[in-house]
């Protein structure tokens, strides 16, 4: 695609058709991501119904306050992302750059909190495969819980890192003035991706952190 924003690719008849195609294409891709994470959520449900006590005991080892803060951080980043897309739609390039930076910062804060949690788990020997130790009789099902904890939050973190790098590319393009009110598609698409990653965390947080807290 050439540099001037208004021109559309040769296979399209006009830019409305191009935008529509990109929009649908992104949603189809997000459909594949729903099924991708869905496989892990199924594994989680499969084992939680089989070992409810083990999952409750293991979940109580997670720091609920760090989890809640992380959820709030990610929701803020979704908010700033939405504002960035909105700014793009009305052509305010400077605002787009500010909100994109804010989203990146919040994303990095999230990853920071996440990796401190990982370090804590490493300290407490709760990482399956690395000398997993768990007091009490529910050690096996606790190890399964932590396997899913690391698999799901790890895959989510990978998607966060991809998201942050895509956002940096967006900022670079925005500074080169590539976006305008009539051509804002890349910002919208990355926005959809970012909101999706936030939705995955919205489901991860209660399922991993809030299991059996009421049992004390």
């Amino acid at each position: 695609m050439s540099d001037t924003p208004a021109i559309h690719a040769h296979q399209f008849d006009d830019s409305v058709q191009q935008h529509e195609a990109s929009w649908l294409g992104m949603w189809v891709f997000l459909g594949t991501e729903v099924m991708f994470f869905g496989g892990m959520f199924l594994g989680y449900t499969f084992y939680r119904t089989a070992y409810p006590q083990g999952f409750a005991a293991a979940s109580n080892h997670l720091d609920i306050w760090l989890g809640t803060i992380n959820t709030a951080v990610l929701i803020c980043s979704s908010f700033t992302m939405a504002l960035a897309v909105r700014a793009g739609q009305i052509g305010q390039n400077r605002l787009v750059k500010i909100f994109l930076c804010l989203t990146i910062v919040l994303g990095i804060v999230f990853l920071g909190i996440k990796f401190t949690e990982y370090y804590q788990k490493f300290e407490e020997h709760l990482v399956p495969g690395w000398d997993f130790r768990f007091e009490g009789a529910l050690v096996s099902s606790a190890e399964i819980f932590f396997s899913f904890y690391f698999a799901m939050t790890g895959m989510h973190a990978v998607h966060m890192i991809i998201g942050i790098s895509l956002l940096t590319v967006l900022i670079v393009k925005a500074t080169r003035g590539r976006f305008s009110a009539s051509y804002n598609t890349p910002v919208e698409l990355i926005g959809l991706y970012w909101h999706f990653v936030d939705i995955v965390w919205i489901f991860l947080f209660p399922l991993l952190y809030l299991v059996g807290r009421h049992l004390g």
Binding site: Y51, P52, Q53, G54, G136, A137, L138, S140, S141
Partner: protein, 318 residues
């Protein structure tokens, strides 16, 4: 090359075999009918309506709703008949009759270890009496295997960490193939054995003679004492653990409000991982026995628990 060693149909050596073969014949008939119907009509149409000249213009036929409904409804009806017939057969071959002779089978990478209740054990061979239902309790020590006897038309995967059951009633004495039908590694094709079906009296002498150790139930009772189970699990409910008398088949109320039917898998899990399912009204104080009891040991304890019938621990089966 031809003759006896070119069999075209497996032997029918169990009560289930004729019933499975009956469904097979029905399926063969349906398949032959539809295959011939389609291939003959193709050949006939291809010849009858072959292109005679390039300027031929066949008539416009868009389709017919009646025909479409017809060849949707008829296949649907046939498939439903097949489904119900198959499901009933599966249901019958799933649940063993109560008076079945219980034999434990432990599968290990590339061999079958069989344990008779009277104490005799075999490797890669299974002697059973003809005319009596036999229930196999299957478990694996490593990967998934599969206990497959073509002549009986039965097959069941053998899973690690869990019991699966399989039952059949041999109808014809003889020796039949036993195959492992789930890929389990290098010697998967070597993990074969023989099922030897004997006349009941011959079986009784075979199994009675030279019993190596006591019966599995006796071995289970010994383990039940040495591991200290008896100190908590008393015949009445007064002990620190629930009474195990007549437990098999009973519905047990659990602490988290759910209830579960006590089967071999529940017993095995409660021995190896007691905290997984805690009975209502009891403390989670039972120690873990995983790692301190072998697969065979758990099977022996379970056969002992099954022998605890309400007639004050009378030995043997009804």
């Amino acid at each position: 090359m031809f003759g006896p060693n070119l069999p075209l149909f497996p032997e029918q050596a169990s009560t289930l075999a004729p019933r499975v073969d009956a469904l097979l014949y029905f399926l063969l008939a349906v398949s032959a009918f539809f295959s011939l119907l389609i291939s003959i009509s193709i050949v006939v149409f291809a010849i009858k309506y072959r292109r005679r000249s390039d300027s031929e213009r066949p008539p416009l036929i868009l389709g017919s709703l009646g025909l479409e409904i017809f060849w949707t409804a008829v296949p649907l009806a046939i498939t439903m008949v097949i489904f119900v017939w198959g499901a009933k057969l599966f249901f019958v071959s799933f649940y063993p009759p109560p008076n079945a002779l219980e034999i434990n089978v432990v599968a290990k990478q590339w061999m079958w270890k069989v344990q008779h209740p009277e104490g005799k054990s075999e490797i890669d061979e299974l002697h059973i009496p003809a005319g009596q239902p036999v229930k196999l309790l299957l478990t694996s020590q490593d990967v998934i295997h599969d206990f497959f006897v073509p002549a009986f038309r039965v097959k069941k995967d053998v899973l690690p960490g869990r019991y699966t059951t399989l039952w059949f009633e041999a109808s014809k004495p003889g020796t039949y193939h036993l195959f492992c039908a789930q890929y389990c590694g290098t010697q998967h094709s070597g993990m074969v054995g023989r099922i030897i079906v004997m006349e009941p009296p011959a079986y009784a002498t075979w199994v009675g003679g030279g019993g190596t150790g006591g019966s599995t139930t006796a071995a289970g009772q010994k383990l039940f004492q040495t591991l200290g189970c008896a100190t908590c699990h008393l015949p009445t409910d007064s002990g620190r653990g629930p009474s195990l008398v007549g437990l098999i088949g009973k519905t047990v109320a659990l602490q988290n409000g759910r209830s579960i039917t006590a089967d071999e898998n529940y017993l095995r899990e409660s021995i190896l991982e007691p905290r997984a399912k805690i009975v209502m009204g009891y403390q989670p104080i039972m120690p873990i026995f995983k790692g301190s009891v072998s697969e065979e040991g758990v099977l022996q304890i379970i056969s002992y628990i099954k022998s605890l019938t309400p007639q004050a621990g009378a030995q043997g089966k009804k």
